[in-house]
Symmetry: C2
Subunit: 344 residues, 2 copies
Amino acid sequence: MTAPREKSKPLKVALAGAGMISWYHLVGWRNLGARVRLVAVCDPDAAKGARRAEEFSIPRVYRDADAMFAAEAIDALDVASPRETHAGWVEAAAARGIDVLCQKPMTPTLAEAEALVRRVEGKLRFMVHENWRFRPWYRELKRWIAAGELGEVLLARIAMISSGMLPDESGRRPAFERQPFMQHEERLMIAEVLIHHLDVMRFLCGELSVVGARAARTIADVRGETVAAIFLETAAGAPVDVMGTMAAAGYPTRPPDRLEIVGTKASAAFADSELRLLGPSPRSQSYDKDRGYQGSFDGVIAHFVDCLESGAPFETDATENLATLRLVEDAYRAAGLPGPHKGV
Amino acid sequence: MTAPREKSKPLKVALAGAGMISWYHLVGWRNLGARVRLVAVCDPDAAKGARRAEEFSIPRVYRDADAMFAAEAIDALDVASPRETHAGWVEAAAARGIDVLCQKPMTPTLAEAEALVRRVEGKLRFMVHENWRFRPWYRELKRWIAAGELGEVLLARIAMISSGMLPDESGRRPAFERQPFMQHEERLMIAEVLIHHLDVMRFLCGELSVVGARAARTIADVRGETVAAIFLETAAGAPVDVMGTMAAAGYPTRPPDRLEIVGTKASAAFADSELRLLGPSPRSQSYDKDRGYQGSFDGVIAHFVDCLESGAPFETDATENLATLRLVEDAYRAAGLPGPHKGV
């Protein structure tokens, strides 16, 4: 526990980045009601910023970070901008003692993240917005595991198989309509998508290491890898398989994950939006996929604010999150994919 | 195509080994009707042999191989005895020019199998009874793949997760009641169970190599490993995951496999005894699990007899099957499990 800093009540928050994902952030902030106040939004695209400001009654819109920091008294910054801008935002906030909740991936590469964490250490409280593990079904499963209901993990597997990057009946590609940057991202399936699943498996099974990985680029006009599989082990040597693609013909465009964990006492499975405990005391719980999606944003944001108020450590503190980025980097290395190009 | 040898019509067949699995063999032979005739059964346990002889109207029962070979004119031998006796049976048959259909694993280790194949080469036709790939759903899926319906394989996964080695409500362990030798087998989950899945994935996806593997012994009075996962790649580098355990609390005791293959054109899934083609021209087919189980024995045995009659090569020729045994050996090595003990 670190002593909480002196903050405004309500907490004054600014949003950096007004793209697609910021909608879910802003709903999350709004759900905290009077505990927080969104004071400003900043995006180089003024129209995007203005739209979010109007939708969520945010008083001021900025295109430039310096202008925003000069004019506003901000307690916390929510960084939802493109990944290559994250470090700049975090450093600017750190220089002003503003705490940060920063979207994943913290930076495009592990090396940049490690350097960033070193540079800003002690200057701010810095949490990564890794929201997948905040999906309600994973929270519940984690409670089962923490309560010892599964015993030791013997084997685990998770898959995210969708058709999102393939043309639908109208010839449109839902994943790229939703998140256009994905089409041009050099590190795609592992660094952008399966990073979540690696983090979920760390969350559920404890620290992991990469045993092997394979990945491939399978769509001509998509820059990054579109198919990947990562084989890992727990600290005790139990196998963990993480597999995914968004280029699977015939699959839904955004299906929920499918997960299985076999433990020494009981097993658990999540499929078709239903979480099941299998074994001596079976039970199950159904979830609404879309509510769970928003719920994961709500959960992350509430956790950030709770920890700022209480001084408790963030579950996905930047330093903690480096372990997930290490798995991403190890997976690329194991798959024989080169590090990201710089320039040229 | 090798010229078919001169055989009796009907083909005179002897069965070596009258244990649990021989029932399914004998149903398979019986289903060939007048094309074959079971002339003898041989098992060191005379009662077991006599029981099968009675059930299937087999004229003579032997406890000793030499006695059987001396007394009977046999065209083909069906070896369903314990694995450590296979090589002896095959060599005895080879010495007499009797063709062999031999249960998997051909021998306890790859080295023994390679030596056996070298020793008997040219002396008999030698097929391995690797029946899993003869399950009707895998035959159908193979037809889809061979017809190019899936395109290139991008990613594949198969799992066999059951509770068969755990005590049921009456405290009995169904897997060991069914196949008692399993409890004492040194190489269990990979060499006995997932050997089938490795072979199925070779059958469906082409030659594979092992990237990594993990395995663990998790039941105190079970000698071999009870949990295993093997991460492989196709010749083109696509990831293939093979995972299994029979120690998963809450799972059925003998559930069918669950398989997914994502291809460049379409995907395929087998789950809940239903085979589905996913993509532009979706279709599906349901199977009866128990009929499919027997059907795989029928298919292997019919294939053996067809090839003896036509001279066509066996799909699971002993030499071909060495590739599956190599994956088994590579998986043990990758999992860090020692080779089988000899003596001591």
